[in-house]
């Protein structure tokens, strides 16, 4: 059992939790994730370790309430416990002195990018961050990103904050100004695809963090398989980061929709049950 120590609402439907998990925090590296299961009947879902502290023995997770499991997670309060958490899982992000790095965060993707930005900054890279959100309310962790970036650009779909438009509009300008050594993009599939398409002709190394469906998260089932340069790879043990120029995004998007119907059923039942309460 894993105790929730802190909880904070960051944006509509987006929450942050600090969880007591000393054995996971001990070896957690940038880019790792955990798989958690809320209770005996729960499913196993992967979530990025957005932050961790060896000293306090804690990990921080961010999640967006989009279905039954994440909504249920959101009903938990500090002091409550999560039944199972396994991790840290996945490969660590390769951190080196690349030079000029541009990091693109779409929505909740910021949770995954934050430790990457911090580590890249520490490795003496120059950091430009582009954050995209639907509107000002949905922007998360701007202060944290500001702290570790040399330039911070914000775009919103509705123009309520920063520049109106897509992250790729800004990225186009940023990469045309000065040479860029590395782009890391985390967010919705379409956004990561657009970023990769944009950087491809410039041959800029582009990492994306993929979020396929997972069951156990340790390479045993193949649920999370993705097509990378024509080869089947398991995101849980070979990723979750891959070269964006090699990812078959269309297949990923298709596979993400595999259980759409079941996800809707579960969510509907969950909401109905809550209303009764």
């Amino acid at each position: 059992m894993f105790k929730i120590l802190k909880k904070k609402i960051l944006a509509p439907k987006v929450e942050m939790m600090v969880i007591d998990a000393p054995f996971i925090a001990r070896n957690a590296k940038v880019g790792n994730f955990v798989v958690l299961r809320l209770n005996e009947k729960g499913e196993r879902i992967p979530l990025t370790i957005a932050d961790s502290s060896k000293k306090n023995g804690t990990i921080t997770i961010l999640f967006q309430k989009v279905g039954k499991t994440t909504e249920s997670l959101g009903t938990l309060k500090p002091g409550d416990r999560i039944l199972d958490i396994a991790g840290p899982l996945g490969h660590a992000t390769p951190i080196a002195r690349y030079g000029r790095c541009v990091l693109v965060a779409g929505g909740i993707g910021g949770a995954t990018l934050y430790p990457v930005i911090r580590a890249l900054k520490k490795a003496k890279n120059s950091i430009s961050v582009i954050m995209g959100a639907r509107s000002r309310d949905f922007l998360i962790w701007e202060d944290r990103f500001k702290k570790f970036s040399d330039d911070l650009y914000i775009t919103t779909d509705d123009g309520s904050y920063g520049r109106k438009g897509l992250v790729t509009d800004t990225l186009k300008e940023v990469i045309s100004n000065k040479p860029v050594a590395l782009v890391v993009a985390v967010g919705p599939v379409r956004m990561m695809q657009a970023v990769s398409e944009l950087t491809r002709p410039h041959a800029i190394k582009t990492l994306v963090s993929l979020n396929p469906l997972m069951v156990e998260g340790t390479g045993m089932c193949g649920s999370c398989r993705v097509n990378i340069a024509g080869k089947t790879r398991f995101a849980c043990i070979e990723g979750p980061e891959f070269n964006g120029h090699e990812v078959d995004f269309k297949e990923l998007e298709n596979r993400l929709g595999f259980y759409k119907k079941e996800e809707e059923t579960a969510y509907k039942l969950f909401k109905r049950k809550r209303q009764k309460k």
Partner: protein, 453 residues
Amino acid sequence: MRHRNPSKRINDFKEVALGLTEKQALKEAELCLQCKNPRCVDGCPVEIDIPRFISFVKEKDYLGGLRTIRQYNNLPSICGRVCPQENQCQGKCVKGKRARPVSIGDLERFVADYEILAGEMQTPKVKAPNGHKVAVIGSGPAGLTVAADLARLGYDTTVFEALHEPGGVLIYGIPEFRLPKKIIRREIDYVKSLGVKIRVNWVIGRTQTVNELFREGFKAVFIGVGAGSPRYLGIPGENLNNVYFASEFLTRVNLMNAHRFPEYDTPVKKARRVAVIGAGNVAMDSARTALRLGAEKVYIVYRRTGKEMPSRHEEIENAKEEGIQFHFLSDPREIIGDSKGWARTIRCEKMKLGEPDASGRKKPVPTGKEFSIRADQVIVAVGQRSNPLLVRSVKKLKLWGDGYIVADKNGRTNLKRIFAGGDITTGAATVISAMGVGKRAARAIDSFILGHK
């Protein structure tokens, strides 16, 4: 042995084989000739004194029979159910030459299940703690066997399991209708009753490294992580929706209870026409699971013929009785999907049998003729391979093939404090062979540690 009626049993996940009644067990035991040179024992990977345990059954001392088995095998109610007895003990039984062999597996199951009815669990004597810590990675058949035997020898034994429930392939792989969860849990309780500690959600290689285990004072590490990564065909269309690797399909149902969605949160797709590619135990398990999820037609698609199917004989019979259909000499070339990316058809090539290959089985040879099988769900069950997660995290560990650990028959690897056994050393094999090496590895670990006091 009695089996539930096929038309009824395909509607639920309850156990198919009902086991022997006491009367049947006594009759079966009478068949045993009590050979002076019992061939059956030679056929058993853990060398159970079969005539002796059967002699207890004859005397109606069923718990005595169980105690005899447990001297050799810590998990008898599991082996009674999943061993391929026709290739092992029963395959060697002299009775089988004239008529049929003694149903040794059924008798093993009978005495093990008898204990459940009797209520109290028989716990053997455990030696006084010797103060040495041993780590066992993986809680499948190999790991549980090593852990139980070391605990009996007085070792402070901890098993590390990556998933949230111990049991390994017994839990996530073998379906309820073949091996009920409560049987596995009871066997695991037995292992725990010997003093074994089990830590779940503990991914060695990630949560903790093998070197960290040594630093924590573990004197030896046994790796029994199985060959838990699916093999696949590498043909176009394998990543379409509703194409499953058998491991995922079975894990969803067996470990996560997806057949009870939405009561349980994990879903699994139910389909009308299901094609399972492969003909081993995992393929049979997948086919029969799909049937129980409500499929109208389920096919086994196999590139050789019925004779070469590697599955346990009883499961093939069960599958046939349940109406599973077989497409032999059929080798899938492509899975074709609809415009929305969902599987619809498998394009196959017709094969014929040629000369025997390295496995001794006749090799399927292409004929050039193609045909299609309509299927809205495809389950790929063509074997397992080594999971690189742990194995590659141990520096200097000698490997063979595509990532299996090199170990001798006593589980010794090239690193003196590291032992290994089960599928991670041999490639996919049986529960009992994993237990066999587990027994020998426990002895090897014991002599290694005591020799280095």
